[in-house]
């Protein structure tokens, strides 16, 4: 008995000794070591230093040139009002033209979109919140909110279907035919603000299953014909949605917001809610869905934003 206890003690002592030794070894490995003193001929040192300083200078010049070229035009005018014209001409002469800049920066957007697409998974659920976390949603649309006159005549047009037909659905059809799903998710605006919103509606995936798209199609062109511009004139809004996103269980064609039917400010009677996309993809007042093989146009893509907008 006592012997076995002694054994255990000895074992504990030796294992604690091992631990102490391991810690000591780690500390020794992490201890700062004095740099080894080397003797180098002064001439070789001088020529190497000259090379390094020349490289630094060349790098600084190249960085300044590329930095200037990459700045938005408006920023150049604000920062150097007296020299921006001359510097732009100089940059263009060196091959740093505006066209090239736009192409290069759009490649950055494409690269970031590819990263977003690689991160995306239809199986990964977006974080949900409680109903108490939900806040009244701000209407941030840059155009004017349409009056409710369009509501009685509103229909959803569905095309690009396997049947080859064009389906015209009323909001009553949609509410009667499809199960309603409720979720509290965060709507994140490209500007940086966000709100938790209580949504209700049908799953886009259910609509896709009920009205199968034509073979070969991969995109949904989503369009609102009731959307208005800032002066209240007709200005269609349109976004592209890939099928992978459309089939996510949290991608809704929302009919409700905060427990009540959508108001015109928030896209009555039907809008897209894709919480894995930036708010600007969540098109309001949806009137047309067309399934396409090629990537459809996207309103904000044409205005310099990302095409994928995955978050």
């Amino acid at each position: 008995m006592s012997e076995s206890r002694r054994d255990a003690k000895a074992k504990a002592a030796s294992s604690s000794g091992r631990l102490t030794r391991a810690v000591r070894r780690a500390l020794e490995a992490a201890a700062e070591r004095p740099g080894a003193v080397e003797e180098v001929p002064r001439g070789r040192l001088a020529s190497r230093s000259r090379r390094d300083f020349l490289l630094l200078g060349a790098g600084a010049l190249a960085t300044a040139a590329v930095g200037w070229w990459i700045l938005p035009d408006g920023t150049r005018r604000t920062w150097l009002p007296w020299a921006h014209d001359e510097l732009d001409t100089l940059a263009a002469r060196a091959g740093l033209t505006r066209d090239r800049r736009e192409r290069a920066l759009n490649r950055v957007l494409t690269f970031d979109d590819d990263v977003a697409e690689a991160l995306y998974s239809r199986d990964r659920l977006v974080r949900t919140y409680t109903r108490a976390d939900a806040r009244p949603l701000r209407n941030n649309y840059h155009g004017r909110t349409p009056g409710p006159e369009y509501l009685p005549g509103w229909r959803l047009s569905l095309s690009g279907l396997a049947s080859g037909r064009r389906e015209i659905l009323s909001i009553e059809d949609l509410l009667a035919r499809f199960a309603r799903h409720d979720m509290n998710t965060r709507l994140v605006c490209v500007e940086g603000w966000s709100h938790v919103v209580a949504w209700g509606g049908l799953r886009f995936g259910d609509l896709l299953a009920a009205y199968p798209p034509a073979p070969g199609t991969r995109w949904a062109a989503m369009r609102s014909e009731v959307s208005l511009d800032g002066r209240g004139r007709h200005e269609p809004y349109y976004v592209s949605i890939d099928f992978e996103t459309a089939r996510h269980s949290q991608t809704l064609l929302a009919t409700h917001h905060g427990g009540a039917p959508l108001t015109v400010e928030h896209g009555a009677p039907l809008r897209l809610v894709a919480p894995m996309k930036l708010g600007l993809k969540n098109i309001k007042g949806l009137t047309h869905i067309t399934y396409t093989e090629a990537e459809p146009p996207d309103y904000w893509r044409e205005r310099g934003y990302s095409a994928y907008d995955g978050i």
């Binding site: 700062e32 002064r42 960085t63 920066l105 974080r127």
Partner: protein, 271 residues
Amino acid sequence: MTAPSLTPARARVRSASRADEPVRIVRKHHVLVRVTHWVHFPLLLGLIVSGLAIYWAAPVFRHAPTPGNPRGDYLADVGRALAGVFGTSGDPRNWLYERVSLGPQRLANSLRLHWLFAYLYMACGALYLLGLARGGGWRALLPRRGDAAEALAMLRYYAGVIPHALARKPWPHPPIAGKYNALQRTAYLAMPCVGLLVVLSGWAMHKPAMLPWLERLFVSYDGARIVHFLCMLALGGFMVPHVVLAVADGWDTLRSMVTGWSTRLKGAPHE
């Protein structure tokens, strides 16, 4: 290089012998550490000016709306105060945004640039860490016993430099055993940590739906925004004392970040 009074042949001999003269040096910074150190500067600048232009679109630090500031943006208040001092021809609320950011209403452009600089910044940070590992420089950054006392001694020293110089009195530098003093060590270790935090909070904002665990790490989406902003202040704020102290420390210190070597040998008195 050659003195004009010497004949060319003799001058060559003399300069050749001087060129052959051995210089005792010690390797201070790995080449990757040096390159990423300098590349970091324009990247950080680009990230700050594009980041503040993005921030303009939806400020996170806000007070209740006022008639002069309906968005309640504190940075607009700061801008207006500065415009009052320095004057402006434009909207005084945009004073700050026009000078330290790419400017108001340039969101699409600023986002593209921010992503470009952010990817380069992450690559730069990874190469810096590789350089620290390869060159063994990480050992000089680790905290050690006695750092608190040494940090206090250094603070006391820095506070006394200018008064003693003005009074023409001697003011010896506290003895420093390693490559850095405790204050430098703390700052140089903190910066990569803040860099990591700024990258993590950036991804938490950039991909909150697909990386919800990362968003949770910062409590909420706005939590990540606040951390990101504070990291920006820390990284930008670090540059001011860093540049002042590096210049004050002298030519050897500046040169070593370009060439990698120093003639200040271990055990030699500092300064």
